[in-house]
Amino acid sequence: MTPTVQTTLLIAGIGIVGIFIFMVLFYLMIIALDKYLPYQEEKPAEVYLSETEETEEEEIA
């Protein structure tokens, strides 16, 4: 194996492994986003208002 071929394979190997490492980190980042900031369904305005009123009543009591 000539030094050129060796260098070629080294760069290609590092390149493809590097991309996978990068993508795995991206994957972990997205998993973390989902874990710590999960999607919460938006409540309809009436439900939100009634909940707020209840809280206010509790606070007054």
Binding site: T7, G15, G18, I19, F22, M23
Partner: protein, 385 residues
């Protein structure tokens, strides 16, 4: 008599300035290429937004003229209008602006909802490194091989950006090759998708992705930028602009900026980029054995990228539980030809099961491919620039 002689002299001088007197066979071959591009764009609608500017640029770039006359009309003549416009390609500032527009029009929800699809975008980058190895074996220098390899990412702006840094003399061949094959994705990919998948695999129905919160969408480009900047700084011009454009879109408070980035700005740059890349293919610099080799390796790199994407999904499925299996027809979308590659997954999926909609799933690896090819470009630049 003298007047007649003077008129003949003037006519002779005029004749020497005309395109007919300066034309060579190569000019007509390139003009034919340009006409084919325009024909494909209009009749077949293959990437018309790119092929029309490139095709017309090829016509403009191959109008023969008397170079010794210093008319300052050629793209390689310093100070000419075309040369000034071409600086955006040579200096590499058109591609990041295109990425800004792409970011402002890309919805990363499909990827955030099913993050394992991002690995398909990584697997498809084998096309880049496969082509890099082949190019070196065919006698290209390492920097040239890197520029040729990037064609496999199926991403025109990334290919132009990388080539402008690594091998500017190959810019025309690499850009034309990348855009030609991107336009031909609907022709190149389906045979390999059919060849590498079984009927049972093509019928796999994937789960509907979860809903992605607005907070996730806003944080994704910010965290993506930071991750990129620290890991692959050489990919920053492209990925930085991609994530910036995406933040403009997702923040919800910069609608005007996002609309400009994904509308007038990207359109303007696409016109300038396509036209000048086309005009850079002057017969004298383009019609060489080197260009034919670039085209051949470019085709191979697309095939390798398509096949490795599909094969990766098949291997990945071996370890995934039954209800989470991925339809390998979306493996082709790991190349970053957005959204054409994803559309092909959808078309083929519907061909085998009219109720199997794969588009939203295929968009995940497709946008991951954009990130992947820019990272690959960053890695190659890091080693070879």
């Amino acid at each position: 008599m003298n007047t007649l002689l003077s008129l003949t002299d003037n006519l002779q001088t005029f004749w020497h300035y005309t395109g007919f007197a300066n034309a060579e066979a190569g000019h007509f071959i390139m003009i034919l290429f340009g006409l084919v591009f325009i024909y494909l764009a209009i009749t077949k609608e293959y990437e018309p937004l790119l092929l029309i500017p490139i095709g017309f640029g090829i016509l403009v770039g191959n109008i023969p003229f008397n170079e010794a006359a210093n008319l300052q009309v050629g793209i390689y003549e310093e100070g000419s209008v075309l040369n000034i416009l071409y600086q955006g390609v040579v200096k590499g500032w058109y591609p990041p602006l295109i990425f800004l527009g792409i970011g402002a029009m890309t919805d990363f929800s499909a990827l955030i909802a099913n993050p394992k699809l991002i690995l398909i975008g990584a697997a498809a980058q084998f096309g880049i490194f496969g082509a890099y190895i082949i190019a070196l074996q065919m006698g290209f220098a390492p920097n040239e091989a890197g520029a040729i390899g990037i064609i496999g990412g199926a991403d025109g702006p990334t290919a132009i950006f990388t080539t402008s840094k690594l091998a500017p003399h190959l810019l025309g061949a690499v850009a034309i090759s990348a855009y030609s094959y991107m336009a031909l994705v609907p022709v190149i990919q389906p045979p390999f998708m059919r060849l590498l998948t079984t009927k049972k695999e093509r019928l796999i129905k994937m789960k509907i992705p979860r809903v992605v919160s607005q907070t996730e969408k806003v944080l994704f480009p910010i965290m993506g930028l930071l991750l990129t900047a620290f890991l692959v700084p050489s990919g920053l011009p492209l990925l930085g602009m991609l994530f910036f454009g995406n933040l403009l879109k997702e923040s919800g408070v910069t609608r005007r900026l996002a609309e400009t980035a994904r509308g007038p700005l990207i359109d303007t740059i696409t016109i300038l980029l396509g036209f000048t890349v086309g005009a850079s293919t002057q017969a004298t610099t383009f019609l060489r054995m080197e260009s034919i080799k670039v085209f051949a390796i470019g085709a191979l790199s697309f095939v390798i990228a398509t096949c490795t994407g599909i094969l990766f999904v098949k291997i990945f499925n071996l370890i995934l539980p039954k209800e989470k299996k991925i339809n390998p027809l979306i493996g082709n979308a790991g190349v970053s030809a957005v959204p054409d590659a994803a559309r092909i997954s959808q078309t083929l999926g519907l061909e085998y099961d009219p109720s199997n909609y794969l588009l939203m799933h295929a968009m995940g690896p497709n946008v991951a491919g954009v990130i992947g090819s820019a990272v690959a470009a960053g890695i190659l630049l890091g080693f070879l620039y």
